[in-house]
């Protein structure tokens, strides 16, 4: 700590140069924080996947329905401790741009599958008892200003009612949320009671979209999945069962490999920072060779002077990285507000802070080591001779 005033003074020796360099590092880490949040949002499905949850869809296409009667047979498979199903409703609210997922579910069974979702017990009970009941994620409720007890008029693009209309109406009886910000994006959904839905639709009665299955032991996921698929092999509705994580990764990849894209952008950004900051550091140290020789003269060892130069690089990168990450956190509410809730909530995760610290440290070493090594090899008499 006693060297910090010295490092600080040397770092801001040329204020304009240092501030400009600092700004470039700040912007790089701001971008890093934002892009990591985007990546985390896209991968949240896979990251938050429960290892004890399997998903069963139709074998050849996830849009093909499966019979609801599979439920009991799936529950009978050894190792399965619970099952639920969900069906895609294809919803529009008020106009075409207000689209969000609506799933027709058995309330108790479905909510049992997702303990990471929070819902007050009374609302959960009302949902189970109300045939026209619906529960909605908190962000959707906030976005559209819905109130508990109101009617939810939703148009389905897929399901026609027995009266020939595509306009459905449900009673909002509960609000879904999650304590974990990474899971909160998964609650951007409206769940409707399948009892009313199945009775009121014209086509597809007795069919559902997919099954969610809870198993006792995650290490048996593959064998249980195979056993489930074997049950329905050679039937008109063959199945494909996979761990939830596998399913989520496959689904995310249909949008694009966001992780690879983000990584490539960040490599380009940090490579630029490496060149820019490296050049600045090298120049700053070159200008101070006689002063560093004086430090050696008064007793600073080669190692101590090397550490001072590395410390200066680390201080620069740490400052820029910290300010950039704080900036990313600060702009996150603005970005989230700007998406109108149509995108999963962005947030800077703890892992992102750790990764930012690691990147800053790696950059500090890469940027500081060449001039530090040069200084460590510096011969005092030669450096002072140029200054006499």
């Amino acid at each position: 700590m006693k060297f910090v005033p010295l490092l600080w003074a040397e770092l801001f020796r040329k204020k304009t140069r240092t501030v400009l360099t600092l700004l470039s590092v700040l912007v790089a880490f701001l971008l890093f924080g934002l892009l990591q949040a985007v990546q985390a949002a896209f991968e949240a499905g896979a990251d938050n996947a429960d290892a004890k949850r399997l998903l069963t869809t139709a074998r050849y296409s996830i849009i093909e329905p499966l019979p609801m009667s599979y439920l009991r047979r799936i529950e009978g498979v050894p190792g399965v401790v619970g099952a639920a199903f969900a069906d895609w409703f294809g919803a529009k609210y008020q106009n075409d741009s207000n689209a969000f997922p609506v799933f027709a579910v058995d309330p108790a069974r479905y909510l049992n599958m997702y303990p990471e979702f929070t819902i007050p017990a009374a609302e959960r009970e009302t949902f189970a008892k109300t045939r026209t009941g619906a529960v909605a994620g908190k962000r959707l409720v906030d976005r559209y200003g819905w109130k508990l007890g109101q009617k939810l008029p939703i148009t389905s693009e897929i399901h026609e009612k027995t009266d020939g209309s595509f306009n459905w109406e449900f009673d909002l009886v509960g609000v879904l949320d999650s304590d974990d910000p990474a899971v909160r994006g998964n609650t951007d959904v409206v769940l409707i009671n399948v009892a009313y839905f199945d009775e009121a639709r014209q086509l597809g009665k007795g069919k559902t979209g997919w099954y969610i299955i809870r198993i006792a032991d995650s290490t048996e996921a593959k064998s249980i999945a195979a056993e489930i698929d074997r049950l329905f092999a050679n039937s008109p509705d063959e199945t494909k069962t996979a761990p939830e994580k596998e399913f989520a990764i496959g689904f995310a990849k249909q949008i694009g490999d966001i992780g690879a894209l983000v990584t490539r952008i960040l490599i380009a950004v940090f490579f630029t920072i490496l060149i820019l900051t490296g050049n600045t550091m090298a120049q700053a140290i070159r200008e101070r060779i006689p002063e560093l020789a004086i430090l050696k003269t008064v007793g600073f060892s080669d190692r101590a002077v090397t550490l001072l130069v590395l410390g200066e690089a680390a201080l620069l990168l740490a400052l820029g990285a910290a300010l950039g990450m704080i900036g990313a956190v600060a702009v996150m509410p603005v970005v989230n507000g700007g998406t109108g809730g149509r995108f999963p909530p962005l947030f800077v995760a703890g892992e992102t802070w750790v990764l930012a610290a690691a990147v800053a440290l790696a950059l500090a070493i890469a940027v500081g080591l060449p001039p530090a090594l040069r200084v460590s090899r510096l011969r005092i008499v030669d450096a002072l001779a140029g200054h006499r």
């Binding site: 003074a9 020796r13 430090l295 050696k296 003269t297 008064v298 007793g299 600073f300 005092i380 008499v381």
Partner: protein, 231 residues
């Protein structure tokens, strides 16, 4: 009584291009404790090279150098650094202060290598600045000081860790006559009243007059001059 600095058969050669240049040729020299020695000689005579060897900034090609009974000619770079931090203070012609630090912080620099706390470092730096008459300039940066004041700060930095030996390379080479007198008087005071052993390189006979004795170095060989008495 044993001398503080004992130099025996010291040779220093440099390689410049493909050529080997011998700057010092088997120098023998004793510097008693409490001495104030002026090393004189023309440019290129090897006086700064000898001063660097005495101060542990460089190592001889051959021969031995002992300071206070301890050989320093064969010490590693790290050991020499530690030795310098404890035993030697340096004063240069161009002061060599760090421009970004205040006078007090400049003086504190050698103390950063000790285990002293911040308050004690500050206290000692202020004592050193008081000794050179610059306590009221402690917060000033070098660019806010005159040349003479900068050199006083450099002297305060040299004495702050209470070294046995002060090595001064042309300490008044960049100063006018009046300021040079102040600096040399200050060095004399440190020698006489605080017992510091001082080796000073100068080519100015008037500056050398302040020393207890002077030696002449010519083409890498020592030749004693008259033992001029200090004024």
């Amino acid at each position: 009584m044993r001398a503080l600095v004992e130099i025996r058969g010291v040779t220093k050669t440099y390689r410049r291009g493909g050529e080997t240049i011998e700057v010092l040729h088997g120098v023998d020299l004793d510097i008693p404790r409490g001495d104030f020695l002026a090393l004189m000689g023309p440019s290129g005579s090897g006086k700064t090279t000898l001063l660097n060897l005495i101060g542990g900034l460089d190592s001889p090609t051959a021969g031995t150098i002992a300071v206070d009974g301890a050989r320093i000619d064969h010490l590693s770079s790290g050991d020499l650094s530690r030795w310098r931090a404890v035993h030697v203070g340096f004063v240069f012609q161009f002061y060599n202060l760090l421009p970004v630090l205040s006078a007090q912080r400049n003086v504190e620099l050698p103390l950063l290598l000790t285990n002293l706390g911040a308050a004690e470092r500050r206290r000692r730096a202020l004592i050193a600045l008081t000794l050179v008459g610059l306590a009221d300039r402690a917060r000033h940066k070098p660019k806010e000081l005159s040349g003479g004041q900068e050199q006083r700060v450099a002297i305060a930095r040299a004495i702050v860790s209470d070294p046995t030996l002060l090595v001064c390379d042309e300490p008044t080479g960049d100063l006018d006559r009046a300021t040079a007198h102040e600096i040399l008087t200050l060095l004399q005071m440190l020698n006489r009243e605080h017992g510091k052993t001082i080796v000073m390189v100068t080519h100015d006979p008037k500056a050398a007059d302040y020393a207890r004795r002077r030696l002449h170095l010519d083409k890498g060989t020592l030749a004693p001059l008259s033992g001029a008495m200090a004024p």
